[in-house]
């Protein structure tokens, strides 16, 4: 125990001696959480700039304009009044949607002919595109109802009858798990887990490479310390820091950034512990095999975007080719992201997420076994071989001097 404690203390010393590492381990996670949390703080698109081109100027066209004006979804930009202006404004992003009401809009309706208005929206960004389409359909449905009610009134139907006719069949929509369709609830948790993943890996993956570069790894290899003690001693500080960061970010995000977290706290912590264990052990194993701190830093930093996007957390896994899906499932992140979402958004219990817990547990066991087995690896890499040679030369030189 004392040996493990000594190695762990030495590792903590290294963390604090390396200012950038200290910054990354203790400050960057909360900085990223704050940044991403702020980015998605509103979570819902409102006041979308809209241009209305009313070429009819009739009472019916004003009804349409009113429906699109008096709501929280759109904000009408008054300076856009003609089609060329709308085109130009759409191109420069001054408006993201537009309504074009043709000149004979009301006349055609009065002649019992189909009258078409045009709804334009910017789909160069699909978050704009899909949300505008949804909002516009909500409002046009409202317009259809108002228009039908006015028409029935014109036919001589009384108010109550009109309501009965219009409400003969209605489709009530119930949105589960994220009732306000908030992007913060959807994305932010996944980003938090990616922060934990990357910062955790980045920290621990330097633990052996650093020693190799300082020619200190020889001390560990030549010592009587068993491999598992080296692994635990070196990995423990990172395991604790990663779990601390996990807990801190979750608390911070729920307390200050409106992240919705429900479900069993025990399960959330269990998922966190398993994820943390995999990250720490995987990082240690990578570090033992890596040639240098620079190589490991570069490659790990590049992993975040591909892992996040292929994990099925945003783009549904059902739409990702099965082979790629299978390969991605060899990594811990997709399981953790899935499990976390099921527990925190859908409040599922241990029985329902058992396959995820089992997958994470198996990964943890495999990585621990690999990390312990490579903690005193005897087959050095090319760079390390040269360092060993340098080390032996130095020892030889000292022996000569002593002699």
């Amino acid at each position: 125990m004392r040996q493990i404690w000594a190695i762990a203390s030495y590792e903590v010393l290294h963390i604090f001696k390396d200012r950038i590492l200290t910054l990354m381990v203790f400050f960057v996670p909360i900085l990223y959480a704050l940044l991403f949390g702020t980015v998605y703080a509103s979570g819902i698109l409102t006041n979308i700039p809209l241009g209305i081109v009313d070429l009819d100027h009739s009472s019916l066209s004003r009804e349409v304009a009113d429906i699109f004006t008096n709501n929280q979804y759109f904000q009408v930009i008054p300076r856009v009044a003609t089609y060329p202006e709308l085109q130009a404004a759409m191109k420069t992003g001054a408006v993201r949607a537009g309504i074009v009401i043709p000149a004979d809009f009301e006349k055609r309706v009065s002649e019992h002919q189909l009258s078409k208005a045009l709804l334009i929206y910017d789909s160069s960004n699909l978050i704009w595109g899909y949300n505008i389409r949804r909002y516009a359909r909500t409002l046009t449905n409202q317009f259809y109802m108002t228009h039908a009610a006015a028409y029935l009134s014109g036919l001589g139907f009384a108010g109550k009858n009109i309501n009965n006719i219009l409400d003969t069949v209605s489709l009530n929509m119930e949105i589960w798990y994220n009732p306000s369709l908030n992007y913060c609830n959807f994305l932010f948790a996944g980003l938090l887990l990616m922060i934990i993943h990357q910062i955790g890996l980045m920290g621990v993956s330097l633990t052996v490479t650093r020693e190799k570069e300082r020619h200190c790894w020889l001390h560990y290899l030549s010592s009587a310390l068993p491999a598992w003690k080296i692994f635990i001693g070196k990995g423990l500080p990172y395991f604790l820091v990663t779990f601390f960061n996990y807990s801190l970010l979750l608390w911070f995000s729920t307390a200050f950034l409106n992240l919705k977290i429900e479900g069993s706290l025990g399960l959330i912590l269990l998922l966190g512990l398993l994820f943390d264990l995999i990250i720490t052990t995987a990082g240690f194993a990578i570090s033992a095999y890596a040639q240098s701190s620079l190589t490991v830093t570069r490659f790990l930093l590049l992993l975040s975007v591909p892992i996040f996007l292929s994990s099925g957390f945003t783009w549904p896994a059902a739409y990702i080719p099965p082979l790629l899906n299978g390969l991605v499932r060899l990594l811990p992140y997709p399981w953790m992201a899935d499990g976390f979402r099921l527990v925190t958004m859908k409040s599922l219990g241990a029985r329902e997420i058992a396959p995820i817990l089992i997958a994470l547990a198996i990964m943890a066991i495999l990585w621990v076994a690999l990390a312990v087995s490579c903690a005193k690896r005897r087959q050095p890499t090319n760079i390390y071989r040269s360092q060993l040679a340098t080390g032996f030369r130095r020892v030889g030189h000292r022996l000569t001097v002593i002699g």
Partner: protein, 396 residues
């Protein structure tokens, strides 16, 4: 004397450039990253977004009525665009279970006596449930159900009016004289692959460029060559421009296959023309190089430089507003994100690829990237003057 200096300068300049080429090439890890990472990223994202749009939302139906009318409704739902009827369940608990387990994303509950109420002109309510834990599914599903809602409501209303003695044409006029035709501009098929794949590949490309640029100064300070460079008395301008030129050519060569693949093979939208997008990308590459050089001059060694550079490069895509719009971010952050060159690039790239708003609009994006480059090179030059990289090396 002056002629001699003029002769020496280009040689020094060429030497710096040759040295940079060798340094980039001999750094095996960096070489592999620069050669393969962006292309691999492009291939990966292409695979991920291969289906391009969500067209079949798994849906379950709970028909509590079992009448011919309710079966008609089920058929109608099955034939609705974007909905894929995958299950028919017998109880609400079964439906709830399927949604919880993620096997279906949407559920439709047809109430008991639906057919009878409809034929008697009584009010009846259909329930549509959407699992909104994934917003990509949820926005599509809710839009689809809004259309379904309108169609069903209109059909039932027309039947009721006809039953009340209104002429069919009059009844139809009540619901169907006005139509809103939807026209998505710039990406008419609402194609996720067009929207995201190239931008994500360019995101990986900019991360690779940052990693390479972070070696500008820090890559030298750990070597004997740094002392040689200092001893030659080469100007900071020659040092930075020589290195930057080589790196810019490398960045260009990295970006070229990504663009060729995207625009020529995969037919990603490009409204502005190939030369303009290349020029814009290279202006961004210059800003990235300057940012990397600045980080490099502030760091003690290549590892620190890489980490500092990536602290900015990693979150920059999210902050750039390419996906979640800048307009929806808090005001103070809206101002802050424009400090990053990535924001100017990804915003400008979206405009150029999808809209081509004209030089008058896009010139400010070029200008901003050049200003950022100027500031970063300035800071890097000051940091080198004030810092004692050479002294550190001598000490070590």
């Amino acid at each position: 004397m002056e002629v001699g200096v003029m002769k020496i300068m280009p040689r020094q300049y060429l030497a710096i450039m040759r040295h940079e080429v060798l340094m980039l090439w001999h750094d095996t890890g960096l070489r592999h990253i620069m050669l393969w990472a962006s292309l691999l990223g492009l291939c990966l994202f292409l695979l991920v977004y291969r289906s391009q749009a969500i067209t079949a939302i798994p849906t379950a139906v709970l028909d509590l009525d079992h009448s011919s009318t309710s079966r008609q409704l089920v058929d109608q739902i099955a034939n609705t665009e974007n909905l894929n009827l995958v299950a028919s369940v017998n109880s609400f608990d079964d439906l709830k279970f399927l949604i919880k387990a993620g096997r279906v994303i949407a559920g439709v509950v047809i109430p008991e006596n639906y057919g009878r109420d409809l034929s008697l002109g009584r009010q009846t309510r259909i329930l549509a449930i959407i699992d909104a834990s994934n917003m990509i599914y949820a926005t599509n599903a809710s839009s689809t159900f809004l259309t379904v809602s309108r169609t069903i409501s209109a059909q039932a209303g027309i039947s009721t009016l006809v039953a009340n003695g209104v002429q069919f044409n009059d009844a139809q006029d009540a619901y169907q004289t006005v139509d809103f035709q939807e026209e998505p501009w710039f990406n008419p098929a609402l194609n996720y692959a067009y929207f995201l794949v190239l931008a994500l590949a360019l995101n990986i490309w900019q991360q690779c460029c940052t990693l390479a640029a972070c070696m500008t100064v820090a890559g030298e300070t750990g070597r004997d060559s740094w002392l040689q460079i200092r001893a030659t008395g080469i100007s900071r301008w020659s040092f930075f421009s020589g290195k930057a030129l080589v790196q810019l050519v490398a960045f260009f060569l990295m970006a070229l296959p990504i663009f060729l693949l995207s625009f020529l093979v995969l037919k990603s939208p490009l409204q502005c023309g190939f030369p303009v997008i290349l020029l814009f990308t290279m202006t961004f590459a210059l800003a990235l190089q300057s940012l990397g050089a600045m980080m490099s001059s502030l760091a003690r060694n290549p590892v620190d430089a890489s980490r500092l550079g990536m602290i900015i490069a990693l979150p920059s895509f999210v902050l750039s507003g390419y996906t979640w719009p800048i307009e929806a971010m808090p005001h103070w952050l809206q101002s802050l994100v424009w400090v990053l060159p990535q924001t100017w690039f990804f915003q400008g790239f979206n405009y150029l690829a999808f809209k081509n708003p004209g030089w008058g609009f896009i010139s400010r994006y070029f200008l901003a990237l050049l200003i950022i480059a100027g500031i970063c090179y300035g800071v890097a030059a000051i940091a080198i003057s004030l810092g004692n990289h050479g002294a550190r090396r001598v000490e070590s």
